[in-house]
């Protein structure tokens, strides 16, 4: 775990600079089934391959951003601020 991630604000930094925030998930709606909520709480796909993830630049600008990372190679292909659709 020594790869680099490029913060959209600060640039390339070692992965230690960041906090991993998990995969980007869809949150169930207010009236959705309890089972749907349960799987949102506990069940993760843990995909081998490209995954959209939340990362927090805790040692830098202290902002959350989204990184598309290949979990098999740790190669981060693109990073962007939430809401910036790429």
């Amino acid at each position: 775990m020594t790869y680099l991630i490029s913060c959209p604000g600060c640039g390339d930094r070692g992965v230690d600079d960041y906090r991993y925030g998990g995969s980007v998930l869809k949150r169930p709606g207010y009236n959705d089934d309890p089972e749907l909520w349960d799987s949102y709480f506990y069940l993760r796909v843990n995909r081998a391959g490209m995954e959209k993830e939340w990362w927090y630049h805790r040692m830098g600008c202290k902002q959350w951003f989204i990184a598309e990372r290949d979990s098999t190679t740790n190669q981060v292909h693109v990073t962007y601020w939430p809401g910036e659709n790429k």
Binding site: M1, T2, Y3, L4, G14, V15, R19, G21, P28, G29, Y30, P34, W37, D38, Y40, F41, W54, Y56, R58, K62, Q63, W64, F65, N74, W81, P82, G83
Partner: protein, 973 residues
């Protein structure tokens, strides 16, 4: 301490590493010896006549200097109390205390040496096979085995200070290895103005040029000796301002993102390089023959290092075992150093014509087509047995020669572990009997002998191409044409070099004895490997795990090639199909201190820190903060707050400033309480839960304006709450600015019956209950300082939490103390505050809750507004509410005079079923009291339960209300 009179004089020596004008005195096993500046511990001891340097791990066989490069385990000693130091690379220093290890009473006469004769009772994997039943057997045997096997002993009394350190560097190109290839690559990269770090494990640059002194024909610097070529290249490199040279620095691992770990002395240097060029060269490896670990059997390069670096004569009568011209050069070196070379045993068939010229040495008989079959002697080499490699040759019977030094100068192994770690493709090439680097990942290059190619001209070309390609990747290459022509030239040379015949000397020579050591570190014998393979451990990876071959301190540097060779032969597999064992960091032994680095404890101080210190406060660490525990007398501090007025520094509270139109909806989503309906000028206590309904934090939310909120968090949760808030804001794309202003704002809590009197002396704000009631907030001046005031009652008295810019901390503190003099004000610390709040049953998140506590257990159900629109934790809390509650946080008072401690167990029917989270003595109640988690069936109103206080069972009674002022009249007063 040893006596000086025992000092052994050593003669003046000629070596390119040592300075004989500067003597160094050191002690070895209590006697004083003398070496010179530039000596290593081993070279000085060798010069003083020592030949046995250690006893082996399992059989306690005597071991002498073998590699003189820190690669084998044969010279491990205890230096200044630190065990397992490789004495052959440990620089000697004045007054150094050196001791042998793993032998008793001495290395020369080791009583455990008898184990060597018990070898047949210690088969491979014996601890998987024997001492299993009865179980007691292992318990009896283990201490003996542990005492007899092993290396040095850790000295637990040795104190470590700040000697360990971590350093972080960034560079364009990191070049690992400062030999011919590394220096050439550096020189090329300098021309492109790249920023370079050159890592070299030796004390000086030059690599093999410094000890393999004859064979160099460097086209760019013609007519110069190897030493002079090294000097020239090193001078260019050292004088360049864009290169930073690290010597005595060994790369221990190359991680993803080109993150290079380098150990330099007691420092771990972490280098982030855009490009990495690996030029770590190769090293000689020993052969497997009878008695191959006898002191006096040395690698050829080791002998050359002793001669050239340290000016030590390696022996009197030497035999060189070789398979290339390098060995003949070594014989020349030996002769020049005054060593009588008895013979050269060359594995090659006799050549028709001598190409190189080095072979013309009429005084030394050369036995062609032979190899060593056995080293003769008990504690040191006294002779050698030479056999013919092929039956047809002229020497049929083993030939015995008398000698005291056997130089093994046959095969070398590329030092390609770093490349393996990067995932480079390395394939065994049958033609050259070398692992060849076929492909490297992006940003990583290899050049020199590490690639498996042993040809100086090719190696130089490789280095240039690697340097230029790195520069190309960096976008700073100007000479693109040159790169192309170099690549062409390299390809041409590679093709011609492939057609040259090569002779590979087999790693193992047939023999008869049991003692044919494959792995020096763990004493793994050839027969152990054969037996393991017979038992079914046929794959090199499981063969390693079963037999522990390649698993010792040298990490397979000395034995991996031999193990692969034996594995291939025993399984009838082609050597290229065997594969290798996995190379993992660290590449060489690294002490845990180096990995740990120095201990840095970050500490934060509040703006009023110096005032607390001046008042004689006892400071404690709370999270990252230093806070006053008390100012001397907790009880009088308590009394001041309850009866008069007290002031406490609460600057450590986390403070978040939220601004924006969507701040209110965001807070409504984050807190389980309702926040949106909070009026401007009002403050509310709030609870934050995770999605699954676990309490994360609590604090106050103050609405300063319609679109402006001021939020406080628990001291230790500031960072996590900041990121939590920001994540929810980011994930919903709210228009809110969240700023952590913890460090920018200081805060005090002024509380007690006279708090209003003190504050009204300092502030024009109307503090009357009608205007500024409980849970109100007002911004205004206090002692002329702009501040935000909140009426909060954490300690249960009339009080204001005053937040202000931290630069006014000491001034405001002084003003409050001064204004409070006439009312008997006292500063109070964390301990008094803990008692005061506990009497009010106010919980502290993290103290009275844990990572599983939900609001229904912690008596905070009132805060959860499940009916409000969606909020974080609603799904989880809705579910929890429907389930039976398992635990409950209750207040209790002791029925006897005991005072439990935080964490004491709650006992039911002799079993611990719960725990006390906070407990103190209450001056108000006059008893021990506190909060405890009980199983729900015990948490019945006003019933008794048992707490084990100091191991004795004491009765406590559950109290539902707050212990002090349950109606809250005082804090509203």
């Amino acid at each position: 301490m040893a006596k000086r009179k025992n000092l052994t004089q050593s003669p003046v020596r000629q070596g390119n590493r040592i300075d004989c004008s500067r003597e160094i005195k050191f002690s070895y096993n209590g006697r004083w010896y003398q070496g010179y500046k530039g000596d290593t511990v081993a070279s000085a001891l060798f010069a003083a006549g020592k030949r046995i340097f250690s006893r082996s791990f399992k059989y306690h066989r005597p071991r002498g200097l073998t590699c003189v490069s820190g690669q084998c385990p044969n010279c491990l000693m205890t230096v200044d109390g630190v065990p397992n130091v490789r004495s052959c690379i440990q620089p000697l220093s004045q007054g150094m205390q050196v001791e042998h290890q793993n032998a008793w009473p001495s290395l020369e006469h080791d009583i455990f040496g008898m184990i060597d004769r018990l070898g047949k009772f210690l088969p491979v994997g014996f601890y998987y096979k024997s001492l299993i039943r009865p179980k007691l057997l292992w318990k009896i045997a283990e201490p003996f085995i542990r005492r007899m096997a092993g290396l040095g002993k850790v000295n637990l009394k040795l104190e470590h200070g700040d000697e360990y350190n971590h350093r972080f560097l960034h560079t364009d190109i990191a070049i690992v290895g400062g030999g011919l290839a590394g220096l050439t690559a550096t020189v090329e990269a300098i021309k492109a103005d790249a920023d370079i770090i050159l890592v070299e494990e030796q004390p000086c640059l030059g690599g093999t040029l410094r000890h393999r002194v004859q064979d160099i024909d460097f086209p760019e610097l013609p007519g110069l000796s190897a030493q002079e070529v090294a000097d020239k290249l090193a001078e260019t490199v050292v004088s360049s301002s864009s290169v930073s040279v690290m010597t005595n620095a060994s790369a221990i691992g190359l991680y993803e993102g080109n993150y290079l770990g380098v150990r330099q002395g007691n420092e771990l240097v972490k280098i982030r390089a855009k490009q990495v060029i690996i030029t770590t060269g190769s090293y000689q490896i020993p052969l497997v023959f009878d008695n191959n670990d006898l002191p006096g059997v040395m690698l050829g390069d080791a002998v050359r290092k002793l001669i050239h670096y340290y000016g030590v004569s390696p022996g009197n009568k030497a035999v060189v075992v070789t398979s290339d011209d390098n060995g003949h050069g070594l014989a020349k070196d030996l002769a020049e150093a005054g060593v009588e070379v008895i013979a050269i045993a060359d594995n090659r068939p006799k050549p028709d014509i001598d190409h190189s010229g080095v072979l013309e040495n009429p005084r030394v008989p050369v036995f062609w087509d032979t190899s060593i079959s056995r080293a003769l002697g008990k504690k040191h080499v006294r002779g050698i047995e030479i056999v013919t490699s092929k039956e047809a040759s002229e020497y049929q019977a083993p030939l015995k020669l008398k000698c005291d030094l056997i130089c093994i100068s046959t095969n070398s192994q590329p030092a390609n572990s770093l490349l393996h770690q990067t995932g480079a493709t390395i394939e065994y090439d049958k033609h050259t009997a070398q692992p060849l680097v076929k492909n490297t990942p992006a940003g990583v290059f290899a050049a020199g002998e590490v690639t498996g190619i042993h040809d100086k001209n090719l190696n130089v070309l490789q280095a240039k191409v690697a340097a230029l390609k790195s520069c190309q990747n960096l976008g700073i290459l100007r000479r693109k044409k040159q790169l192309e022509s170099l690549i062409d030239e390299l390809e041409q040379l590679e093709i011609t070099s492939r057609s040259l015949p090569r002779v590979h000397c087999s790693q193992t020579v047939p023999g008869i004895s049991d003692k044919r050591i494959v792995c020096y570190c763990e004493d793994v014998l050839e027969k152990d490997l054969n037996q393991a393979i017979e038992e079914g451990f046929r794959d090199i990876q499981i063969l390693k795990r079963y037999s522990t071959v390649t698993m010792g301190p040298c990490q397979g540097k000395m034995c991996s090639a031999a193990a692969i060779d034996i594995c291939a032969r025993a399984t009838g597999t082609d050597i290229s199909q065997i594969g290798t064992t996995t190379s993992r960091p660290p590449l060489e032994p690294v002490s845990l201190g180096v990995l740990a680095g120095s201990v840095h404890t970050p500490l934060k101080r509040t703006p009023m820190h110096n005032r607390h210190v001046n008042l004689g406060a006892k400071m404690v660490q709370v999270g990252e903060w230093l806070r006053p525990h008390s100012y001397g007398n907790v009880w009088s501090e308590y009394q001041a707050v309850r009866e008069r007025v007290g002031v406490i520094d609460v600057s450590t509270l986390g403070k978040l400033d939220l601004k924006g139109d969507e701040a209110a909806p965001l807070l409504d989503r984050l807190y389980v309480n309702r926040i949106g309906n909070l009026k401007v000028g009002r403050t509310r206590y709030g609870v934050v839960c995770s999605e699954t309904g676990v309490i994360l934090d609590d604090g106050t939310i103050s609405r300063l304006a319609e679109d402006h909120f001021f939020v406080t968090t628990t001291t230790g949760n500031t960072e996590s709450m900041e990121s939590w808030f920001k994540w929810w804001s980011a994930s919903t794309n709210d228009c809110v600015h969240i700023t952590n202003i913890t460090a920018g704002m200081g805060a005090v809590n002024l509380a007690g019956p006279f708090a209003r009197d003190v504050l009204s002396k300092l502030s024009p704000i109307d503090l009357s209950n009608e205007v500024f009631g409980y849970m109100g907030n007002v911004s205004g001046l206090v002692a002329g300082v702009p501040a935000t005031l909140m009426r909060i009652g954490f300690v249960g008295e009339t009080g204001w939490e005053i937040h202000f810019p931290s630069e006014y901390g000491e001034y405001l503190w002084d003003s409050i103390i001064q204004a409070g003099q006439e009312f008997g004000i006292r500063p109070f610390g964390v301990e008094a505050q803990r008692i005061l709040r506990l009497e009010k049953k106010h919980v502290i998140i993290g103290q009275d809750t844990d990572a599983l506590t939900n609001p229904y257990e912690a008596n905070m159900a009132w805060a959860v507004k499940l009916e409000k629109e969606d909020f974080v934790g609603r799904g989880g809390l809705r579910k929890i509410k429907g389930l039976p509650r398992s635990n409950k946080l209750v207040g209790f008072v002791m029925k006897d005079g005991t005072v439990p401690r935080d964490g004491d167990p709650v006992i039911d029917k002799g079993v611990a079923v719960g725990r006390v989270t906070s407990a103190r003595y209450s001056p108000h109640v006059g008893r021990g009291f506190g909060l405890a988690y009980l199983p729900d069936y015990l948490a019945v109103q006003q019933s008794d339960f048992i707490i084990a206080v100091n191991g004795l069972e004491s009765l406590a009674v559950i109290v539902d209300q707050a212990f002090y002022d349950p109606e809250g009249l005082r804090l509203r007063g």
